[in-house]
């Protein structure tokens, strides 16, 4: 192999783009959040609830979560992992004015705005993307009430 004269050459470095997991794509995650809020009652859900659904979807454990929620296996624990990327995506959603901060059952919650409702409808209308996710989100969002959020997070139910 011919030797390359390195000493008398100019170097330039360029940062190579790194691969991004699909669930860290803004479009994917924002669409997912839209679907979650859009499927929730009154287009509103607490941040805790969103975190729970997000975690279940990402780790493909929505079936397990459903079993827990169905109440037949009362003692199955649910370990919630909080994901920083999700929080960033929520910031984008709020920044784009698709949702606003509000309160639900004493917890911080997100409420879809008019733009947000349209966006959620658009996401639900896409036929070939997020197929499984949308089904799971629609089911979970209905099942997880704000009271159940408390139970899942291990709060004592107030008498």
């Amino acid at each position: 192999m011919a030797e390359i004269d390195i000493a008398n050459r100019r170097f330039s470095f360029r940062r190579r783009p790194v691969p991004v997991p699909g669930d860290l794509r803004i479009a994917w995650r924002v669409a997912l959040i839209m679907a979650m809020l859009g499927s929730s009652r009154a287009n509103r859900a607490s941040l805790a609830k969103l975190h729970i659904i997000n975690d279940a979807i990402r780790s493909s454990q929505h079936d397990r979560l459903k079993t827990i929620l169905s109440g037949t296996h009362a003692a199955v624990p649910w370990n919630l992992r909080v994901e920083p990327a999700f929080a960033r995506a929520v910031d984008f959603v709020v920044g784009e004015k698709m949702a606003t901060w509000t309160k639900a059952s004493g917890r911080a919650a997100l409420q879809l705005t008019k733009t947000g409702i349209d966006a959620a409808a658009a996401v639900m209308g896409v036929e070939d993307a997020l197929v499984e996710e949308r089904v799971a989100v629609a089911e979970l969002a209905k099942l997880i009430t704000e009271t159940r959020v408390g139970a899942l997070l291990g709060e004592k139910v107030r008498a």
Binding site: V20, G22, L24, I26, V30, A85, F92, K97
Partner: protein
């Protein structure tokens, strides 16, 4: 072919019977009557008698006016009488000259889903009714079931209805309801489109194209069907191949491994099927046939040798004992190693499986993200343009935690994941193969080990027997070898029978694949194009006669996609085909419809088509089209209707005009007032 011979309407009140009898002849038939007197009733009664009302729309109401359903009177000023019973009867004939009478109740005891038929011309010639048969319509299976009326009608017309695809991915026959709008122009909506309008509730894909292909009997439709059949056959063969291949692999795995059996059938395999069944035998992979040979050779050798006494054989037995014992130790060590290898490979395999699954999920999500980009700014600018909505900085690192890295662009990322996936998938495939081989080797070594163990036992016992008795070691070896050979042979036999089946599948597959290649892709054949050209010329000729003025008739051409008329326009020096609907005057749209329908029917004279040779126009004088044009249309309709073809037209032009125009060239059925008039109750059946 279908020919209408006689239509009978009956409507009974408590005191009187109303009715109309309309004889039809071959050629042009004109039903002439003033407005609101029942012309449409007559024509719609034909649809109703044929059970085809759903070609007008999905509703199940009877497409007939009050006079046949609820109340009736003789003159406009008379009070209404309640209809207690009413029915429609139609006599039709086909190309073979068979004649049947159809009877369907409108109001009465019998279900409106029932159509009764009698053989013979009992309406037109008052002869006694022939054999009766009942059919049903509107319920599921009416087009396919033996007692479904449309199945009967299709058979009566000599139609072999093509199977077509629906929007939901299923298939259905091309229902008669879909075809009929090309034969019957209904007054209210029928004139709104050049073709059809076709009913959409049947959910047939490309319905216009399918109907036209069928009516014009184009080869492309048959080719498409043939291709679909071939594709189904091929996928079935592939399924059977992989099924047989799996059972062969399983059988082989009991003793060894199989080499050179492709995942998919090939022509080469069909010509010369080869199969390499290998056995792990004494530390190496050997072909089954060779193992068999070695074993049988050994048996022959043992059989040929003299039976020695234990004393004579003792030194030999002693030596063999030592030899086998050391072999046994080696084999035990090997087996342990193979077991270790197997568990390592299993772990590798599991890791690879997990990795492939994770990559597949990731690919799916990235692809979803790509599809979601279609929503554009709907999901906000951060998602579509990668600009932060608050600080307007670049966010091309997506949601990655580290600030200083740049995320790959989506397309690039998808390619990247795909290439990784490819790599891991092939690694997984290799790993699976290795795992199988290790398992086979393990089984082979284990078998060897057992074999040796047995031999050791036999030899030890041999040494303890009385020295004068005959040595049994040789005999026992023969028995053991024979059992081994039997097992191998049974597997060989199974493999051979499966090989025959595989060869058959491969040759069928090769045949189907080459047939599929020979069938042209979804394109019109030369013969088809000739038909379409002929149709186009005929349409232009008709347009010329009818005084079509929106374009030069020569500018009208037919789309090769769904055979709708297009106009050839000069667009910046290029000739372009354009849709016509909005550029045409309303009356010219009517002229084009006349021309299109008559030309389609005329095609029968020169080509073999499925058109039944019947066209019905309900009030063709639409959109105040000039009388002169209408007369030209009637005149050419009377010419079109040759060779046993039939055109039915209803009109409210006066009898004098129609008669002076057509004279004896048409069967004019004229009514001065309401078409349904009181009749002698005696003549009603």
């Amino acid at each position: 072919m279908i020919q209408l011979r006689h239509l009978r309407l009956r409507s009974f009140t408590a005191t009187r019977a109303f009715g109309a009898d309309i004889p039809f002849e071959v050629g042009l038939n004109v039903v002439q009557a003033p407005n609101t007197s029942g012309k449409s009733t007559c024509l719609q009664a034909i649809i109703y008698a044929l059970g085809l009302e759903r070609s007008l729309g999905p509703q199940l109401t009877v497409p007939l006016p009050y006079a046949m359903r609820e109340q009736i009177h003789q003159f406009k000023e008379d009070p209404y009488d309640l209809v207690l019973q009413s029915y429609v009867e139609l006599e039709i004939a086909n190309a073979q000259g068979e004649i049947v009478v159809l009877h369907r109740d409108v109001v009465g005891d019998k279900s409106t889903k029932l159509i009764q038929t009698w053989n013979g011309p009992s309406l037109s010639s008052e002869i006694p009714r022939g054999k009766q048969r009942d059919y049903f319509v509107l319920d599921g299976g009416s087009a396919t079931n033996e007692s479904g009326f449309h199945a009967f009608l299709a058979q009566f017309l000599g139609w072999d209805l093509p199977i077509v695809a629906r929007y939901d991915g299923t298939e259905c026959p091309l229902y008669l309801e879909a075809i009929f709008p090309m034969l019957f122009v209904e007054q209210k909506r029928g004139w709104s489109a050049i073709q059809g309008p076709f009913p959409t509730f049947l959910r047939i894909q490309d319905v216009a194209r399918r109907v036209m292909e069928f009516l014009l009997d184009l080869e492309t439709a048959k080719n498409r069907r043939r291709r679909a059949e071939l594709r189904a056959a091929i996928s079935d063969l592939l399924g059977r191949w992989s099924d047989r291949r799996k059972s062969l692999e399983e059988a082989a795995a009991r003793v060894g491994r199989i080499r050179g059996l492709a995942v998919q059938p090939s022509a080469e395999f069909a010509a010369a099927p080869t199969l390499d069944l290998q056995l792990y035998y004494q530390g190496e992979w050997i072909r089954l046939a060779d193992v068999l040979q070695i074993a049988s050779g050994r048996v022959a050798e043992l059989e040929a040798s003299q039976v020695e006494s234990v004393e004579q054989a003792a030194p030999d037995v002693q030596a063999r004992l030592t030899d086998i014992r050391s072999q046994f130790d080696v084999l035990s060590a090997v087996l342990e190693a193979v077991r270790g290898e197997h568990s390592a490979e299993t772990q590798d395999n599991a890791a690879l499986e997990e990795r492939v699954a994770a990559l597949e999920t990731d690919l799916k999500r990235n692809q979803d993200a790509q599809k979601l980009q279609r929503l554009g700014s709907e999901l906000g600018r951060a998602a579509s343009e990668h600009v932060c909505p608050t600080c307007h900085q670049d966010v091309s690192n997506e949601l990655l935690p580290t600030v200083d890295s740049v995320g790959m662009a989506l397309d690039e990322n998808i390619v990247f994941v795909k290439s990784q996936l490819e790599l891991y998938r092939s690694a997984l495939l290799n790993s699976r193969e290795r795992l199988q081989e290790i398992a086979a080797r393990y089984r082979g070594s284990e078998r060897d080990l057992q074999d040796k163990q047995q031999q050791l036992r036999v030899l030890r016992q041999e040494l303890m027997r009385p020295s004068a008795s005959p040595s049994r070691a040789a005999i026992e070896e023969i028995v053991r070898l024979q059992a081994f050979i039997d097992r191998l042979e049974s597997i060989d036999e199974l493999a051979n029978s499966l090989l025959d089946e595989l060869r058959e599948i491969a040759s069928e597959w090769a045949l189907a694949t080459s047939n599929l290649r020979q069938h042209p892709v979804d394109e019109l054949t030369v013969a088809d194009k000739r038909k379409i050209e002929h149709l186009q010329t005929a349409i232009r000729r008709h347009l010329d006669i009818y005084g079509f003025r929106s374009f030069q008739p020569g500018e009208i051409s037919l789309s090769l996609d769904n055979f709708r008329p297009l106009v050839l326009r000069d667009d910046n020096g290029e000739t372009m085909e354009k849709e016509i609907y909005f550029e045409m005057s309303a009356s010219d749209a009517i002229r084009l419809k006349w021309a299109y329908y008559l030309a389609c029917m005329e095609l029968m004279r020169d080509y073999s088509v499925n058109h039944p040779g019947l066209t019905i126009f309900d009030e063709p004088g639409q959109q105040e089209v000039e009388s002169s044009s209408l007369f030209e249309f009637l005149r050419s309709a009377s010419q079109s209707a040759q060779n046993g073809q039939q055109v039915l037209v209803s009109t409210s032009e006066t009898y004098e005009t129609v008669n002076s125009l057509l004279g004896d060239r048409a069967n004019i059925v004229s009514f001065a007032g309401f078409i349904l008039q009181p009749i002698e109750t005696g003549s009603a059946n």
